[in-house]
Amino acid sequence: MATETTGEKSGLVFHPMDQFIVEPLFGNGPVTWYTPTNVTLWMGLAVVGVILLLVMGTRRRAIVPSRTQSVAELAYGFIHKMVEDVAGKDALVFFPYIMTLFMFIVFANFLGLVPTAFTTTSHFAVTIILALAVFLTVTIVGFVKHGMKFLGLFWVDSAPLALRPILAVIELISYFVRPVSHSIRLAGNLMAGHAVIKVFAGFAALALVSPLSVLAVTAMYGLEVLVSFIQAYVFTILTCVYLKDALHPSH
């Protein structure tokens, strides 16, 4: 990552976007869809982390919970309450899916904060798949539950008749733009945060500003810990909102 090319025109010791380069784990061959890359590795680690937390947390269930069990129970209760409050009681069928999404994103975000780690959720290719899966699920659920009446989501009954076609166009656009904003919010926030940390780290090469730069990196890191959790939370809560729209399409 930190290749010493001080003669570069950018003036930084390393490029702040270098941390997002996808590289094959073994050898230097071309990256195709089946190549194990650092993305594969860190995604796998996130999945292993989720499994470890939830399996170890529920292995030895005690009345007075151990630390691992408390964390697992806290996460479970947090998402369960969120689904119930935001999407309604009948959305609890989808609780396992939403819990999976939240745990995966939270673990991928936090693992990305480990120094020299690769942040998988900073790639649009990763988050767009998560968002498209949510989008397809919601659309299919809406049509299965309500049939053609689901299209009433775009035909606002409470508006004046003359306004309805215009509103329908706006609603249609906002519906199809959902996966875009849903995915880019997560990836953009993480990518920007990690790039900013790297930019500040690059200034540490100048002896005069290096104490300031270390301070800035520390502060940004603290902010990033917060952002990692909040973005996972926002992604999950928006999934719940979209699910509510599909289950109860009336405005």
């Binding site: 733009v177 875009v180 904003s181 880019i184 919010r185 809560i237 928006l238 909102v241």
Partner: protein, 74 residues
Amino acid sequence: MEGQLAHIGAGIAGLGTGIAALGVGNVAGNFLAGALRNPSAAAGQTATLFIGIAFAEALGIFSFLVALLLMFAV
């Protein structure tokens, strides 16, 4: 020349994210003002706060997207 113009355009599009920050700050500030008036009702509205922030931020994300497209796709 055209590539440089695209970079200038990306910079201008980046301004949009800053303007979206105004919207997000507006949402959060109004929430805080309401929460300080009636703290007992605030805890139940944090989900609404985050949904509001997410929707306000969505439009800033589009300008970020435009900037990205100008940087890498045009």
